[in-house]
Symmetry: C2
Subunit: 208 residues, 2 copies
């Protein structure tokens, strides 16, 4: 029987995931809940090694299918080694990205067939589904401005064209429209305190 | 139209792949053929990074599905970036291992369902098939003795139990039995010169 919960925070880069995840962490800790804060790609020692390959800006030659398989490899390990045991122990798993990102980036933006992605994803996650995926929605132009104002370099995914990032945003909104029971879209152009309050309300509804 | 060829050399560790591959290389170079010598997992910069993760002895926790996806990721890149362009240019690709190893190790030895492996493999290789896979067949006890006499450490796959390695050997023989048009088994317990002559005869038949 499923005892814990899994909450995913997703959206384009610069949409405020890091801040929102910190707010969720502080909120749930204050409530005395046992938490596992994690991220994709990554979340396990093997997954973090795969993450390095996926995000390295040195490999623009990476094929779409290769990318899909690498995300799936990291996710398969993440689910089995970290997420399922935590949920079985009654903990709340909070992840920076999960399978919704693969659908947005690899299908809607990169153009890989949706049935191929669902096939690979379903093998990786083996029937598991997060309780809720919170999409922080923001115009990618604003998102990239926020990222570059931090003075960090861009990773391989962030170096994609604006067209790619617009398609990915559309992909998040489509997924949310098609599965309203498992997705919530939050307007990330709102003032930060409003974004955080909106997110916390979603979280409280899930863990109630 | 397919112009070049692909020859795979596979089999358990210690069965003599390295020596045989070198003999094939020398033989085909002497014939003036354009060659691409490669290996799996690996064969591309991305694939070699994946290889490090796959063979690292530090990650015994790796799940079967994770392993399968990582092999597939490296293979997808290998086929698209290196093998298909070389064959289109009329070259002969000679690979140390390919998809036969995944079937032997992940299905016959590790126990993952064969249809799952075929599904993932076929996405990775997208309909491509080597002209021939040469299986160097040897009792894994003898193979491991050869490997350890070289004084090298064992990688993650070599650290598996004897039972695992015996099942993998059986898997190679089953694949060869089921697809005699694409597999040749060579008895690697024969004197080295006889093994090499047998292999060269197979190679000459393929490229004729």
């Amino acid at each position: 029987m499923r005892k814990g919960h899994m909450i995913v925070c997703d959206g384009g880069n610069g949409a405020g995931k890091t801040t929102v995840l910190k707010a969720i962490e502080v909120h749930l800790q204050a409530k005395g809940r046992e938490l596992v804060m994690t991220r994709e790609p990554g979340g396990t020692p093997i997954g973090e090694k795969v993450r390095e390959i996926l995000l390295s800006p040195d490999t623009p030659e990476m094929c779409g299918v290769t990318e899909l398989m690498l995300f799936a490899a990291a996710r398969a390990q993440h689910v089995r080694e970290r997420i399922l045991p935590a949920i079985a122990a009654g903990k709340i798993v909070v992840s920076d990205r999960f399978d919704s990102a693969t659908v947005s980036f690899q299908h809607y933006a990169r153009g890989l067939p949706l049935d191929l992605i669902h096939k690979i994803n379903s093998i990786a996650i083996d029937g598991f589904k997060p309780d809720i995926t919170i999409i922080l929605d923001l115009d990618p132009i604003v998102g990239l401005q926020r990222v570059s104002s931090r003075g960090e370099g861009l990773d391989r995914m962030e170096q994609e064209s604006m067209d790619f990032l617009h398609k990915a945003r559309h992909g998040y909104l489509e997924q949310a429209k098609n599965d309203p029971a498992h997705f919530v879209v939050i307007d990330s152009s709102q003032p930060l305190e409003k974004v955080i309050i909106d997110v916390i309300h979603v979280v409280d509804r899930i863990i109630a």
